[in-house]
């Protein structure tokens, strides 16, 4: 049963996952039924379902639910796209050129662990309270993980592959394009997945910046009205959307680097 690299058949794996989720929701429902949970603190699943139906019908603050989801996803995707477009080449360059790496390392390591919420006042001051400052915050929290991960992937390309390239007579560009880049791709994908996980957590923080729609804003807004059911609905939506985003990335990764982990 124990073993890294050993995998269950896809049907069994999905079956077990669905089973644990169903058992969890069932237990939650039962606790509500038995009166173990105060609805104001933790509403039972059926109440959240009723809220969902209601919100789907009338929207939240005159804005349909799909729009809240869509606005958040659009902000996050815009930020991720920018972070990947800027971060992967920058990370690759840092991995390839030690001088650049030394020059930028202090900034990258300063900003990467910095809680991005601390930058909210500056973001508002510099970029205003519109979409730009929200996207900027998610962008920042994604960027540095992508940069560090991409640089590490390049530095981790095995000596054997580099020597092979030299022995085959590759020039610098051929070595980068035909050996270093493809050899780094699995690591880059992993860092992008990690970074997007981090970026998604910043969504709520970014929607604290004078937003009037979005899942993060909905959670914060509902909590000020003590609507725990709506808070939970927002949390579930955030979680499920994050899950789907990651899964889409896994599919892209499988299509682009089918050799990952197999050497």
């Amino acid at each position: 049963m124990i073993g890294a690299g050993r995998e269950l058949s896809p049907g069994v794996a999905v079956g077990i996952s669905v089973g644990t989720v169903a058992a969890f929701v069932g237990a939650w429902h039962l606790c509500g039924r038995l009166g173990l949970l105060s609805p104001a603190i933790l509403p039972p699943p059926e109440e959240i379902w009723l809220t969902t139906v209601e919100i789907l019908d009338i929207g939240y603050h005159q804005i349909p639910l799909w729009k809240h989801v869509g606005v958040s996803v659009a902000r996050a995707l815009a930020a991720f796209a920018l972070a990947i477009t800027a971060g992967v080449p920058l990370g690759l360059a840092m991995g390839l050129f030690p001088v650049l790496s030394s020059a930028l390392e202090p900034f990258v390591q300063f900003f990467r662990p910095l809680p991005k919420i601390a930058l909210i006042p500056l973001a508002i001051l510099w970029l205003g309270i519109g979409e730009v400052s929200k996207i900027f915050l998610i962008f920042l929290s994604t960027l540095f993980t992508v940069v560090v991960g991409s640089a590490a992937s390049v530095k981790g390309v095995g000596q054997g592959k580099l020597r092979l390239g030299a022995a085959l007579g590759t020039n610098s560009w051929q070595l980068i394009y035909h050996i270093i880049l493809p050899a780094s791709l699995p690591g880059i994908f992993t860092s992008v997945r990690l970074a997007i996980g981090v970026g998604w957590t910043t969504l709520i923080a970014s929607e604290m910046v004078a937003a009037d729609s979005g899942m993060g804003w909905m959670v914060m807004n509902a909590s000020s009205y003590m609507r725990t059911d709506l808070v939970l609905l927002g949390i579930i939506l955030l979680g499920v959307t994050g899950y789907i985003l990651d899964y889409v990335l896994v599919l892209i990764e499988r299509a682009c680097v089918p050799w990952a982990g197999k050497e």
Binding site: L164, A166, A167, L168
Partner: protein
């Protein structure tokens, strides 16, 4: 005769099988050739023109000269430097198959890395056809300990990578790939991913990849060390078979005395660190060599003893 008729009756593409391997003819005690001519036991089924030039004609091997090569790995902080190779001088004839033999850590891989151009000698120099080498290049094909295949390329694309990057004409590369795929017994595996192959098959790909550029020198760093004993013998036979049909100069590093005695024209034995040349032994045993016969040959046994003594007890006076 019986063996030959039986062999030729079978269709060639079904003959090659890793599990099956070459067989021993019970009548004559000589090797029978299976499939693509792993052993030079019988050339008749090979010289049908489909493999291009005949034995030893397609590649002109280069001469190699190590001139007082020493190599020292620098120390770091409190870690002292290591004198890996000291005053290593050897001249190697074009087209010969030379084994560099020595105990683990004796600097034989360092010698090889210097020839490949991966390491610069601290002093001394290496000449290929009289010209000093300074960096790696496609004139010296390398086969590493690990097959070192690129998992994002199929078997065929791994093999043709060198010529493709050098911008060789596609048609020429395709023909050469076909030839070396047949010689290394990889027919039918062209479109496999490297990670779908066994260890032995991976090394076949590595061999074909090194050979397709027809390098005057082939540098091999314990390429069969990680294979099981059976596959290792098959691969050694394969190597000799292809070498006899091409003609590269081969410098083959190994710690396995039997491997050296099966492959080599000449055996260079190194001392433990710092690596120096302890013995330079010509080994003109006739080819084709048959493993099963070789191991009971008295000359073989005597030389194996001499080499083992030189490797394990350098001070022992034979």
């Amino acid at each position: 005769m019986g063996c030959q008729r039986e062999r030729l009756a079978a269709p060639p593409e079904t003959l090659w099988d890793e599990r099956q391997g070459p067989g021993l003819c019970p009548e004559t005690g000589t090797r029978t050739v299976v499939g693509t001519g792993v052993v030079g036991g019988d050339e008749t089924i090979l010289n049908d023109g489909s493999f291009g030039p005949g034995p030893g004609e397609s590649i002109r091997g280069s001469s190699i000269a190590f001139e007082a090569v020493s190599h020292r790995y620098p120390g770091r902080g409190k870690v002292p430097g290591t004198e890996a190779v000291e005053d290593f001088s050897v001249s190697i004839e074009p087209g010969s198959l030379v084994c560099l033999l020595g105990p683990s850590g004796c600097g034989k891989s360092t010698v090889l890395n210097v020839l490949a151009g991966f390491e610069k000698p601290t002093s001394g120099r290496v000449l290929v056809d009289g010209r000093e080498i300074s960096k790696p290049g496609p004139d010296r094909g390398i086969v590493f300990q690990e097959a070192n295949l690129l998992p994002w390329r199929k078997v065929l694309a791994n093999i043709t990578m060198g010529p493709d990057l050098a911008g060789r004409p596609k048609k020429e590369t395709k023909l050469k790939a076909k030839r070396f795929i047949q010689l290394t017994g990889l027919s039918g595996f062209e479109n496999h991913a490297p990670y779908e192959l066994s260890g032995g098959m991976k090394q076949r790909v590595a061999l074909a990849r090194a050979w397709i550029s027809e390098p005057p020198i082939l540098v091999m760093d314990e390429p069969f060390g990680a294979l099981d004993a059976q596959t290792r013998i098959d691969m050694q036979e394969l190597l000799v078979g292809v070498w006899e049909k091409t003609g590269s100069t081969i410098l083959f590093v190994t710690h396995d005395v039997d491997e050296a005695l099966f492959l080599a024209d000449r055996i260079l034995v190194m001392t433990p660190r710092p690596g120096r040349l302890a013995k330079d032994i010509p080994w003109p045993m006739e080819r084709p060599r048959v493993y099963e016969n070789l191991v009971v040959n008295p000359e073989y046994a005597a030389l194996k003893r001499e080499i083992l003594l030189a490797m394990r007890r350098p001070d022992y006076n034979i």
